[in-house]
């Protein structure tokens, strides 16, 4: 079972993702965005960074990279697809996830540890976690503010596709604990099948105690397990 990590010009978290998934025993290969064939892979990760310089809008140019045809194919086939930070923005631009990510409420670049609460385990990112579990992982973004129209938010909510919400350290989802103004404190969502997932904070940067938290591991191991299951 192999997991691809897509590398765009301007990606900068691909090695962190490769390392963290490697810690969990996954066989990972970095794949340049010009690749047309991911047929040997069971899952794909779109890492964080500034793909194509974030010109026009975050993810707007990246969605037309050749590799995105394969990402869309995998999404359609039910294989696990994970977008982290800039990768989440790309999945939204590609219409593989609903909504969009816009500038943070207070127009500041946020680089800090945040708490998120697991809201649903019906997806590749959270299947090994428990509802209500509070995780401490780093957020590192300027456009991390999730927006969608009310009907879309209601649909996400009703279908259990809101996976993580920003909360305080005790797990209370409040306005004060919302770092970037995201609608309904959303930090991670899933597509309709649960296989396509997007998360704004960085689980790969919280994969070892040495980094200040290993809370991201449960999310990455969920993804690896989903990939293993998909490869069978």
């Amino acid at each position: 079972m192999k997991i691809a990590v897509a590398v765009f010009p301007g990606s900068n978290c691909e090695h962190d993702v490769e390392y963290a998934l490697g810690l969990l025993g996954a066989d990972v290969e970095l794949m340049w965005h010009q690749e047309h064939d991911l047929s040997g892979f069971s899952a794909v990760v779109l890492p964080g960074g500034f793909a194509h310089g974030d010109y026009l809008r975050t993810g707007a140019i990246a969605r037309f990279s050749p590799i995105m045809d394969e990402v869309a194919r995998m999404a359609k086939e039910g294989l696990p697809v994970l977008g982290i930070c800039n990768g989440f923005q790309i999945l939204c631009e590609a219409d593989l996830l609903p909504g969009a990510l816009v500038a943070n409420r207070d127009l500041n670049f946020i680089c800090s540890m945040v708490h998120v609460r697991v809201e649903s385990t019906a997806a590749a990112l959270t299947r090994d976690a428990e509802v209500g579990q509070v995780l401490r992982i780093p957020l590192n973004s300027y456009e991390g503010n999730f927006v969608a129209d009310g009907a879309t938010l209601d649909e996400l909510e009703a279908a259990g596709r809101i996976l993580l919400r920003y909360c305080d350290e005790d797990g209370n989802v409040t306005d004060e604990a919302n770092p970037n103004g995201s609608a309904r404190n959303i930090a991670a969502i899933a597509g309709p099948g649960g296989n396509v997932v997007g998360i704004m904070p960085h689980p790969e940067r919280a994969a070892e105690d040495l980094l200040g938290s290993s809370d991201g591991r449960i999310l990455l191991s969920s993804f690896v397990h989903a990939a293993e299951e998909a490869s069978r």
């Binding site: 026009l56 140019i61 909504g99 816009v102 207070d106 127009l107 927006v147 609608a183």
Partner: protein
Amino acid sequence: MSEPLRFRVRVMRKAGLADPEGATTTKALRDLGYTEVAAVHFGRDIVVELQGDDAASAEARVHEMCERLLANPVIEDFTVERL
């Protein structure tokens, strides 16, 4: 070679969606004493120059460019104006 056809694309955040730039600037203007400011809306102007002389077809192509790349229909509206 003839002058290119020029179009101005104006991309604006959809009404009702969060607009942090607009909200922050509204507050700053009110703090400066312009208390009558009800709202500020930011957008983006993009000027596209095209080769050819068929303005109608060029404008249709620019619309298509907006739908595919220049604007995000989830959060933005756009207008196209011939310059």
